[in-house]
Symmetry: C2
Subunit: 325 residues, 2 copies
């Protein structure tokens, strides 16, 4: 496809346009191929640091992404949900001794999100955040995370890409991923969460069991039913968020209650998703305090939180319902 | 893969084993390929007889299935959700003047179920029922529908196949569909909805808006939340049913209320799904009267009904809750 040169990025982003973004999209094509050939989805016999059972396909996706990033000289640092420690993108290097050009990036990724729905062959995804500089820790997410990608593995392979490069206009694109780099194409150059009125209103209530302990959450669910919202909830963060982006409407809720802890990783899941939702004109907030997901820097790689995101109007309704704000 | 000879079918089913089933599985591989290459999912500018907008991918799947069936001499009659009239599987023939062997089949199919979730790239499916004889109308479904297939188009391509051939043991298998016929393989030869206790209980509430008018449905939803069932609802009948089959537990509910009409086609959706669920040890009933989906013959091709299916114990709970039986 057209290199990312077409995307009206500010000068000085040659590596981002010609190496990092194309390399990651090609890697999404490779992960799709690997998934297509993995009829035997099994536990790999290991657990990641969070105690989740790792699937053989998780490990394959992790290895493909690490290899793709190692080929991008401007990517100094990489970390993943499977190994949440920032380290050099190339073995034997330290972030400090790399003689890189003027562009320096950190990439944080969840190689394969949606483990629980891989066996039944539901759509799953890859989540990637790209940061300016050699670390994401203690950096202001709203300024330093300059791009993010959701890879979507379903009947076809697609990707949603958000770009918010300083000096440039925020953009959100949908890309059709081909078998090889030449075949990728921009399907929509302006992914937008639309304004009211909506033909159909969608809701995706994650962690619905929390409604048993949260009367506010239960009331909200009842209200969606009474107002005839349409339910779509796959349990995969990528397909659930992408559903709203493609339909132009939707709200995703993963509240946090006393009895149910926050599960979504800020660095590997929430930040990239929030950037995409914001670049599409929506909002992404923390249900514990109503603040924007991208407003608070990270202290360490495995911090977690809840999420409310989607159309700005719907997020506001949820905020009022759950926080009384 | 091994021809279906291995499947312990009674004698006299050579065409079913060597032509119909392999031909349909190859066709599922072809539909998967067509979907993978259809980055531009658009309305084809036509509507089917039900007034649904037809997508270009619907038409491609319909054409691939019609072509595959035309190559099976034992398939006399075909009809599809897109064109719900029984007619000869080969143009220019009538079902009566075909000089077929001793095996005679009718095939009814929904070429691509889940139109609303194709654009966001969620898993969708094909639904196929295979009947003994030259028509499905006025036939006893529990006896005459002898096989059914759910094709599943997700990150990989899979199929669930149920066989209930007179004289043989009912079977339910999961098949990994390769790029070509040689690559198909049996992933699980005994797909089973398990017995209690369950690690996790799943529910998939279709037509949830109906709960606004049905206090019984709303109470049932509240009860699932209170009992901490896990919600998984994609809105695609194939992925929703396959989720339960792969996890070994689940209940799918599409109730019918005064304000919301029955939407699922008996011939193209309910009968094939019911056969698969029953062959996996589960139950599939009509929510309007509690009767087994497969108990009542078809009067015409476009009859519709609701559905409750899944683990027998869960179906019983829903029946009591909605019908008081």
């Amino acid at each position: 496809m057209a290199q990312f040169n077409d995307l009206l990025l500010p000068h000085g982003r040659t590596e981002l346009c010609n190496s990092v973004l194309p390399g990651l999209l090609d890697c999404i094509a490779d992960i799709a191929k690997s998934l297509r050939q993995s009829q035997h989805v099994s536990l790999a016999g290991t657990t990641n640091i969070f105690g989740d059972g790792q699937l053989n396909v998780d490990i394959a996706a992790e290895n493909l992404l690490r290899a793709a990033l190692a080929k991008c000289p401007s990517v100094l640092t990489a970390s993943s949900e499977e190994e949440p420690i920032e380290r050099s993108a190339r073995d034997g290097e330290t972030a400090e001794n790399v003689s890189a050009g003027s562009e320096k990036y950190t990439v944080a990724f969840d190689p394969l999100d949606g483990s629980s729905i891989i066996a039944p062959n539901w759509t799953v995804g890859t989540i990637i955040g790209i940061w300016d500089g050699s670390s994401a820790i203690h950096q202001q997410p709203s300024e330093k995370q300059i791009a993010s990608i959701l890879g979507v593995y379903g009947p076809r392979t697609t990707a949603i890409v958000a770009l918010k490069v300083p000096g440039g206009k925020p953009q959100c694109l949908e890309i059709g991923i081909g078998e090889s780099g030449q075949d990728h194409e921009i399907i929509r150059s302006d992914v937008k969460l639309a304004d009211a009125p909506f033909k159909t209103r969608y809701f995706a209530p994650a962690n619905l069991r929390a409604a048993a302990e949260s009367p506010a959450y239960m009331r909200l669910i009842t209200q969606y039913v009474e107002k005839k919202y349409t339910l779509r909830y796959s349990g995969g963060l990528v397909p659930d968020v992408v559903h709203a982006l493609v339909k132009g409407h939707g709200v995703y809720l993963s509240p946090v209650t006393g009895a149910s802890e926050a599960k979504l990783r800020r660095l590997y899941e929430l930040f990239p998703v929030a950037l995409i939702v914001e670049c599409a004109g929506g909002r992404a907030i923390d249900p514990s305090n109503g603040e924007d997901i991208l407003s608070r820097p990270l202290e360490n790689c495995d911090e977690r939180a809840g999420l409310i995101c989607g159309t700005a109007e719907e997020v506001e309704i949820v905020k009022k319902a759950l926080l009384g704000q």
